[in-house]
Every structure is written in C-alpha cells, then in structure tokens.
Assembly symmetry: C2
C-alpha cells in the first residue's frame, strides 16, 4: 500500500537522523520490544540498579496511558521521559526525537527505549536504535517467535524472561529456541529472571560489550 510506504519512508528518514544524533553523542540506544506484561520495566529497573554506577543509563518510556513505568524507573535514580501514545500502538522516530529533547541524555551513555507493549507494530518502525531487544516471557508460550515472526526477525537479541516460572507452566525451552532460530538464525538469546536475578550476568556482559563497540565506532 503506497500510503503505508510513505508513512514508513518518512519514519525511516527521521530514524536515521536520530541514529546520527546518537552517533554524535556516542549514545548506545536500544529499543526494547515485547508483548504487554513480559517484564520490560522490571528488567530495566534491575539493570539500572545493577549497572547504573558503571554504565550511565537513561530511559524513554512508551505507553498508551499512565506514567506508572516512568515513576518506577525514576525511583532507580536515572533520567526518564514518558511518552503517551494515546490510541497509538507504537513509538515513531519523531516522538522519540521530541522525547530526546526533553531527556537530554549525556554523552557516552546508554539510552533504553521501552516501546509500547505490542509484538506487532513496533517491528515496522525504526527509531534509530542500534538494536531491537525482544523480550519474551515464559508464560506467553514457546510459539510466539513463529507467530510474530516480523518482530523476532527485526530484533538482534532476545531476552527470555520469567524462567523462574518454568516449573509451573507448559513451556518447551528447546522448542522455543528452535522456533527463534528458525525465524532469526543469528539471534542472541539470554535466559533470565528479572525478578530473581538468574542469568542477568550474560545480559550485562553483552550490554557492556555493546556500549564499548558503539563507542569505538563513534571514534573511528
């Protein structure tokens, strides 16, 4: 549909401008995408508390309504701006640009963008991030990567969250990883419990390495 192409085309141009801005400030920007209730905010709270000293992290929160998530993030001590999309189903590059002017994230920092909880629409909208990080939680079921393939193809990293619930639900871990590789063979997968702390060390290692790489590229 021509109209859709036009909307996406305009978004893609503004996303490239955001990408340039992140490059100019040497900011590692990650776009966290998932279904509602996968635990994105809890993962962010924990990550900021565990790493915030060594790695300065700031946050843009996307939600249809409420400032609840921003308040949770603010309590960790980092800077946060909440964007409410109203009836909108995803963040777009121009919304992010406006949020960035308010947030004013410092040089050499990490920006976490928590998108609206939606496994469909945010897949189509580049925000200028370095990578999309898809969060899937165990209670959602192992079939989600093949049922929402666009999102799991668009992401470079998958965080499988709530692994502490594995004993209580019907979830085939090997099958989930298999489905994920089927739609995205290169996907990096971390198995974690953001509430209990399991598996977070690997995610933190990846984050630190990615921040270093993005810094080297900015200098090169």
């Amino acid at each position: 549909m021509a109209l859709r192409e036009e909307i996406l085309g305009k978004n893609n141009r503004l996303a490239e401008r955001n990408r340039g801005w992140f490059g100019g400030r040497n900011i590692l920007a990650l776009n966290l995408v998932s279904a509602p209730g996968s635990g994105k905010t809890t993962l962010l709270e924990r990550t900021i508390r565990d790493l915030g000293g060594a790695l300065p992290i700031n946050v843009i929160e996307g939600d249809q309504a409420t400032v609840n998530d921003a308040e949770r993030i603010r309590a960790t001590g980092c800077k946060v701006v909440q964007i409410n999309t109203g009836s909108g189903c995803h963040l777009e590059a121009d919304m992010l640009a406006r949020g960035l002017r308010k947030l004013d994230p410092p040089l050499n920092s990490v920006l976490m963008i928590e998108n609206v909880g939606n496994l469909v629409c945010p897949a189509l909208f580049d925000l200028g991030e370095r990578a999309k990080v898809a969060i899937l939680s165990v209670p959602e079921g192992e079939d989600k990567p093949i049922k929402y393939p666009h999102m799991f193809r668009a992401a470079r990293v998958m965080i499988l969250n709530k692994i502490d619930l594995l004993p209580y639900v019907d979830f085939d871990l090997d099958r989930c990883i298999g489905y994920t590789r089927r739609v995205n063979p290169g996907m990096r997968v971390f198995q974690v419990s953001a509430t209990k702390g399991d598996g977070l060390a690997q995610w933190y290692d990846w984050l630190r390495a990615e921040a270093r790489t993005s810094q080297q590229e900015a200098i090169a």
Copy 2:
C-alpha cells in the same frame, strides 16, 4: 487524522454488514482480544470441548503467521478458518467477511473470533461482533487495564486467566479489579484457569445466557 477516520469509517460500515449477517443467521459472534500468550486458544479449546455438544461453536483464527492455532482448534472437532494477517496487527471487518464465506457457520451457532494477540490495535476495529471479550493473564501484571485503557473500555467482558499462577507471581487481584472498573465500570469479570478448569462454570453460564439473549433478539 482524516485518513484514519476514513479507514475506520469504511471498516465500521463493513462491520455493520457482518452484524446484520450474524443477526440473519442468529449467530452469537464474540471477538476475543488480548496480548500474545494470554491463553485465548487454550480457553477456546477447553470451552469447545466442555460446551460443544450443547452449544455449536465455530472459530475464526487471526494470526500474523502459522496455522498452529487453527490446527489446535480443529482437533476439538469444530470448524475453523485461519486468517493470516502478514505484517498486519489486527483483523478487519472485510477479512472477517471473507473468512465467514469459507467457514460457512450454521444457523443458531456461536462464532468465536480469536483476534491477533495485540492489546492495542484490535480495540479500534469493530468486526460486527456482539461483544469483545478481553483476556488478561495473571503473569502480565495487574496494571494492564489502565495501561491499555482503550481495549479494556471496548470490551464488555474480561476473563482473568491463569489464576493458578497467582501463588508464583506478584499480582494484586483487588487492585487489578479496581483498575478494570476504573476504565470500565460495567465490565463483567471472570477469574479462570483455562488449563486447570477453575472458574469456567461462570463463563459458560454467561456464554449460554448470551446465546439465548441473542436468539431472542433475532426473533423479536
């Protein structure tokens, strides 16, 4: 946005045609909406197995990709048509109309429409259903009704699923009901576990009563 109004206006007209068609055939049509992985398909499988003898139920399945859900539903013995939306994020009235021609549901039956797992976009698109039934699952968290208010306002019934997981997650039941009533004071709420069977009797009573009412209205 004028364009959005035009798209919704066209959809609304086709939805009314579907509504008339359901009236003409005395079909109770329900539109099941939720986040990915809330347990819609499991609830449907169980409902059809438990009620299918007394209440003829057929299904339209909406998913971005795969025919997995249709296969699960077909195994219950009912008729089912799968609609794949590709990169699309919701069912629209014209997709449903095409699905209905394939499904050919009989007079005096119940049609369950399982929408794409998405708590945002399907709220805007009337399909001609008698009611939207929102499914929320306990692991998603109690705040979802206020974070996705459009959907919980658009629905007439909420099924709070996976209550068997309450002992293992941080979920405040009273607060969830309070949030739900805040966005939709008249919302009917059923607390169930579709896998274990808890609370399903009330949902079945509602379903039977709704089928009777829709039949009486069709005759009147």
